[in-house]
Structure formats: C-alpha cells, structure tokens
Subunit: 472 residues, 2 copies
C-alpha cells in the first residue's frame, strides 16, 4: 500500500496536477497544499458512540474483565437484496476516527454531569488512546457475505468503544460506494458527476462524494468535498440563473461573458430547441456543453445532438442530470450523452442507504496476557443473527484464467495455495496508523478489484453474490 495517505486527504501531498477541471467531469487537478482547518475536521470522535459501549466498559472494568485480549470483526451476513458484490469504503475515514477518538475535558464533563459512567471509568477514559491492532480489507476492495472487512484487536475495553463510529463510517460510505460502482459500470467510460449534496445530511454529503469517487465517479459538485479530499469539483448554473434575468438570452450571455465559451449552459428552462439555438448563437460553436435536467432524456438528447451538429457545434457536449440511477444511466448507453450528473439515487445508495455491517466479538482470551489462548465466541440463540466465532483470515481464490471464483474464509491455518491471495492488510499496529493512501489509489484499486470479478458482477439485474463465500 502506498504509505502516504489513507484518508484520501490530499492536503499534504505535493501540488502536481491542474485541478481546475473542465465542466464535464474529466479530472485534472491541482492538489490543495494548504493545511487548512476545514469544515469537516472533527476534533474528537469519542461521542459518536452508543452509550452502551461506555456502560459495558464500566461494568467490565469493575468485573476485572475489561483488559481481556479480544478480537472484534466487522462483516455483513448478506449483501443488500439482489446485489452482486459490496465495496469497502470509508477505511481511511475509520483510521482518522480512531486517531481522533479521545476524551477531552469537555466530553468527560458531559459524561460526568449526566452520570453516564462512574468516576473510575472517567479516569480510564481520560487517558484513552487506542493501542491495539487493526487489519482490514484495503479500501476499494470488493466484499461478500461473511468477508471480515475489518478486524480490531486489543483489550476488550479499548476495542469495544470503537464499535459505533467504525460501523457508522463503513455502513454509510460502503453503501454509497456500492451504488457508485454500479453506476460507473453502467456509464461505461463516460464521466459521472456527483451532485447529491442537497439530498443528504450536509456532512454525510462530503463522505458520500468521497465514497462516490472511490466507486468510480469523476467529480463532485460539493465544495467541501473538494476542500477536504481534493476531489475535483464542477458546476455552472441552475434554472434560477435563467429566471433571474429578463430573457434567457441575457442569462446565457451573462454566463458566457463571466465563465467563458467553454461553460455548460442549462437549456431546459423554457423551450429546449430555442435555448439550444440561442446558446450556440451566444457562445458560438466553442460552447462547452449543454445540460438537460428534465424530460425524456433519451429523446431530448438525440434531438439536441442533431441540432447542435446542424448548428456546427459538433464538439459541444451534452450533460444529463435528471433523477438518474444506474438503470437510467444504462438506458442512455446508446444515446449521444457525454456525461451524467447523479444526485438523489447516489447519496441514498440507490435503494440501499446503509449496509448491514456488524462489529462482533469473535474471540477473547481469559486475560491480557498475549500468550493466553484466544477462545472463539459467538451468539448462539435460535432467533437468527448468529455468527461464526474465531479470528478469521480471508482470501479470494482465482480460477485458471485468473478470475475470482470464491471468497474463502477460515479460522485455522491459511492453505498454501491461498497464502498470496489473502485480503486483510495491517492498517494499525500498536495504535499507530501504518498506511495512508491517496484517494486515487483507492479508486484504482476498486476498479481493478471489480474488473477481476466474473463478468456477471456488473449486470444490473438482481442476483446472488457473484462469487460464493466458502468457510474452511
């Protein structure tokens, strides 16, 4: 793994590329080199935590069991209905959250004031820093039911506290990345613009833009995502800009005057054909693009392409942005569309806004002694929600052509044939984050991981996981 930056935070990487991208979403970027105090930096993540993590800690401290060496694993029992694969996203954010998980005076004051835990627990929390180990699927990797996506090892006390925030991040970000990945498959090579900020919580939107980029999106409309993660940002105008002006022509002229002929003009405020004619008249055939945000996109795109060509604007591109999902994108594959803007369906996971990842104690020793044997543990009641105990490894077995054929998970020794196909990598050792990756590395990994699945992985229709999970 690239040792630089697991968070996808480009702020400290050398400015190298011109990030001022064109409006189509083809990224070419200048990294933000300033170490800015940004609107989504979170000073402490310690309260993004369900209360029961703290009350369990208190009871375990009192009982003398808090320091038992423990192994927790994150996994899902199933993929969302009909989905062929999952996408691990948010790992970089998890590492940020673990590093920033500490109880300062304000937080301790709150816990004390509300008597959420007792004084010995508050004392313990005051010096809390995670000191254990974390292994996980590298971010961007695909996953399947049972895949041990993250493994957290240390004392029960230090590991149990991290459950809520780790699940929040992975469940949200992976849901968005999975939807993005399907949309990227559907779009073929055409650029995808993330435009969903207004459809989700303002900070979830920033994480969603990051996850969408991991899944294959090209750009985002969300300035905070550009600021925080260096994702290329795009955007020109909305219907309000046309309505502000006395005539559509005045609006187009104002936009071209200010943003240049390469801009994207929105042509569906009044009559599309008239707007396209006027757009080319105002900007000339150098007009960058037109955007269509309503109507029968397939039909309108054909008409607009024909009209643009007839007007000599053969290089003017067509961007469509109206309530798209992966199915609508796929249905436009044959249409003369140059880029897609996606909002609602992306940031809500295209029907699956969360994953069902859980964080389970799978093994623990009887003491803190590193030599004490780890005993597998698991819930066993009859009502479902059972899981497999024991500290797990995972490997992806390939067929003779090198295509993935099974997700193999085990608790014993790793078979020799799978030794170099193991999926878990070490992310944190003794509390120290080992790896930092630029987001482009993560994005490329996802594309490679998806490309290594059987072809049916990218079918949009509902189906079973594209490879089976085998336990050995």
């Amino acid at each position: 793994m690239d040792p630089r930056n697991t968070t996808g935070d480009h702020r400290n990487t050398p400015a190298a590329l011109n990030r001022q991208s064109d409006e189509m979403g083809v990224p070419s970027r200048l990294m933000n080199t300033a170490d800015l105090g940004l609107p989504v930096d979170v000073p402490s993540t310690a309260l993004f935590t369900d209360q029961y993590e703290l009350t369990m800690l208190q009871a375990a401290l009192a009982a003398g069991t808090a320091e038992r060496r423990s192994v927790f694993e994150v996994f899902t029992r199933r993929l969302p209905e009909g989905r062929r694969y999952g996408v691990v996203a948010g790992t970089g954010r998890v590492l940020d959250a673990v590093e920033n998980f500490r109880f300062d005076a304000d937080v301790l004051g709150f816990l004390r004031e509300h008597a959420i835990v007792d004084e010995p627990t508050l004392e313990w929390l005051a010096s809390y820093r995670f000191g254990g180990d974390i292994w996980g699927y590298p971010e961007g990797e695909v996953y399947f039911p049972g895949s041990p996506i993250l493994r957290v090892e240390g004392s029960f006390a230090e590991c149990v506290l991290l459950e809520t925030v780790i699940l929040s991040i992975l469940n949200h970000d992976s849901a968005i990345a999975a939807a993005a990945s399907r949309m990227a498959s559907a779009a073929g090579g055409r650029p995808l613009m993330e435009m969903g900020a207004r459809r989700t919580h303002e900070l979830a939107a920033v994480a969603a833009a990051r996850a969408a980029y991991v899944g294959g999106f090209t750009t985002t409309s969300d300035l905070a995502a550009g600021f925080r993660y260096g994702i290329p940002t795009v955007g020109t105008s909305a219907h309000a800009f046309t309505l502000l002006h006395d005539r559509e022509r005045d609006a187009f002229q104002a936009q071209v005057n200010s943003l240049g002929r390469g801009t994207t003009l929105l042509v569906d405020t009044y009559d599309v054909a008239e707007a396209v004619r006027m757009a080319v008249e105002v900007a000339g055939p150098e007009l960058g693009a037109v955007r269509i945000d309503s109507g029968d996109l397939l039909l309108v795109a054909y008409r607009v392409r024909q009209q643009l060509d007839e007007l000599g604007a053969r290089d003017t591109r067509i961007i469509v942005t109206s309530d798209l999902d992966e199915y609508a994108i796929a249905s436009l594959a044959a249409a003369p569309v140059d880029a897609y803007g996606v909002g609602t369906q992306l940031v809500t996971g295209s029907g699956h806004p969360t994953c069902s990842m859980v964080y389970k104690l799978v093994a623990r020793a009887e003491s803190a002694d590193p030599k004490a044997p780890l005993e597998p543990v698991a819930k066993r009641s009859t009502g479902g929600k059972t899981s497999i105990g024991g500290r797990k490894w995972a490997a992806r077995r390939l067929d003779e052509r090198g295509v993935a054929e099974a997700e193999v998970i085990g608790t014993g020794a790793v078979p020799v044939a799978l030794a170099d196909r193991q999926l878990l990598v070490e992310l944190v050792k003794g509390g120290q984050v080992l790896t930092r990756e630029p987001l482009d590395v993560v994005r490329d990994r996802h594309a490679a991981s998806r490309a290594n699945l059987p072809l049916s992985a990218t079918q949009l229709s509902r189906g079973e996981p594209v490879i089976p999970t085998e336990y050995i």
Copy 2:
C-alpha cells in the same frame, strides 16, 4: 414562538430537570449547562455548497443582476409514495447554518487556489453575511405537496448561496422525522429509543437523533446527540459483553454489580428462557428490564412476560430492538412490550431516506429597490419539474370540528377567513435570527400538529396526502 432557542441546543438553558433517565426511555433530564466546544459544531457552513451557486454568483455580479431583490421558496412537489403527511424538521439547524455561513481566509484560499470564482467574487464573499429575511413553517409542523416550507428573501446573490445547505438539512432531517412520526403513532404511548447511529454517517446520526426526537422518539443511544442537543441518552450492554465473560451469569452479575438492579439485561445471547431465569436470580425481581434483540419478537415477548411474572418480576419491563420499523411496531401493539429500540429503519427514513424538497426562485424584481415590483418566475419547459411562480402564503383550513381539511396556498391577498390560520412565521429578519426554541417545544408542536389532522393521517397503509393542497 418561544424566543429562546430554535436550534434545540439546550446548552444555554437553565439546568432544570434531572436528565439521568431510566433505561426505558422515559426522559427526565438535567440540561447540560456548559458551553462546550462539541464534536458537531461546525465553524463555517459555507462550503456545504454546490459549486454552481458560486459560479452563478460570479456571473450575476458581472452582469449587474446579482443584487436583484429575489424570493426563493422551499417546497416538495409530492410526498414520498404512499405517505399521508410530511414533517418539517431541521429548521433550527438551518438557522445555525445561515448564521455560520461565512467565507474565512481558509475557504477563500481554497476557492482562489482552484480558481472556482474570480477575484471580484472572492472579495464579495469575504464580507458575506446573509442580510435578508426568512419565513418558514415552524419546526415540527406537518406539510403537504406544495407547502412553502421555507421562504428566503433578499438579493439574488445572498439567497442563492444558501440553497445547498438549506436543502441538505431539511431533506435529511424531515425524512427522519417523518419516519419517526409514523413509528410514534404505531407505538401508541410506549417509549421509543433511537439506536441507529451505526447505520448512518456519524454526523448524520446526530441530526437523525434530533429529528427522531422531534418526531416523537423519547431517547437516543447516541452520546453526541445528548451532548449537542440535550436529548436523553440510554444504553446498557450488547452481546459482546456476555461473550466476554466465561458464563452468561458472570456477565449478568458484573452488569448488575456495576449498573444496579434497575439495569436492562440482554437475554438472547444463548437460550432466552435460561437467561431470563438467571437474570431474575442475579438481579432479583427489582430487575429493570430485559432486552430481546432477535427472534420472533411477538412470541418471545409473550413467553418472557409470562416467565417474568411467574418469577415474581412483574415490574421488570421488556424492551425489543430487532430490525423494527413502524409496521413491526404496530404488529407488537398487543404484545407485552414496554419499549422499542429502533435503528436502521429510522435513520434511513423507513424506505424514504430523503425528501424531494427543492429551493426555487419564485419571484424577483428588476433591481435591489425595495419598491420595485416582484415578478413571479417559474420554469416552464415541458419535461416536468414545473412550479408555481410568485411569493406565497399558506394556511391550513379547518372543518367545523376544528380538524384540518385543506392546505391552502396562494400568491395574492390572504382571505380573511384564513388570516389567523397562516402557517409561515418569521424566522430571520434582516439577517438576525429572531427565534430560538427548545427541542421539546418543537416536539410538542409536532404532536399537536399531527393530532389536528384527520384520523386517517396515522394509518400506516399507503395512501394519498391526508388533506388536499388547494391553490387560490
């Protein structure tokens, strides 16, 4: 409106109530009086913004149209499929966001470095403070298709910038509050605990807990929501705590020793009947509650109630927490269940994780002159997404029994008969936030507003909006 606190932020209100609630979710709280720098305070909201808001600003500044007096309105064209009413939530957070919407040196540096807007625009942004007026439905109020939920008035420039962050907040928070409201109806008077933090983005979770409280939930598991908004927090233990210990009995004993007999023991790690027997043996009949997190909840609740009664633990309550939604809650109405914990389905809006609220320019003058007439404007192309121009009022007409019978919306003079039924209240005047409400006021308003709808509003089955929207 109560003038104190629209954000629901209780930090500055007098400590008055004992907030250390019991574990069932019955709130009785001690307000947090410390003015803490908390993990969800956001120093600037200016980048939670789609890039096109800024490029439109730049083009309008250059064209001399930026200062035209403008009216933007937030509304939805429809409710989510099958829903009977919507719930306005997030208004208090919108007021926070507007107050904190400013471009500091870091943000301006980012915009300059990436050439997102030109220098004159950066200069304009450097002194940006919203100076206009905002009217809106009071938070907690119900809404219907077309309801002008929020109206933002000022110059085009100052208003257009707020679009993205206002929609992010209202679309997210209202979606959660609507789901919460349905669950609260289904639960009757039984307490509802919000436990969804792990299923959504870690900061969306805090807003979700707030919206759930508005919709009728009683408590939250999310400590950050307790910290930020003073919502009562709850939680005791998970399966991991049982699995940590050598025997289930040891875990129960440890928990009771530390948290007291009034605690809630989780009884479905191994055999439920055996666990219930042991729980009462360890804690005695004073055991506060048992929690069931898997299995056929209806059946198991009956069996556990019978067993508890036979063991003399008649006051020990039963909490159920397994993948509940409003339908599952309703199906347990006759079961001996004392409280519900809801996670995934709450924080994902029970099938509708976002609303479809839009922020549209509905009227503008030809200049900044307050006397220049406002001209209604609206998109008119044939592809759908049309809206009604003009600055609107809204009123809820009642029938002879005082029950809501229509949402009446107009652009002209308000009919005398509806004058005292108007819904919009002034929230911001000349850039100054006028009203601050405690979250309990908002929560009570929602309950009253829902209670004033026709009875069929609380039917869970799919249907049309419970009252029609009339335009006059």
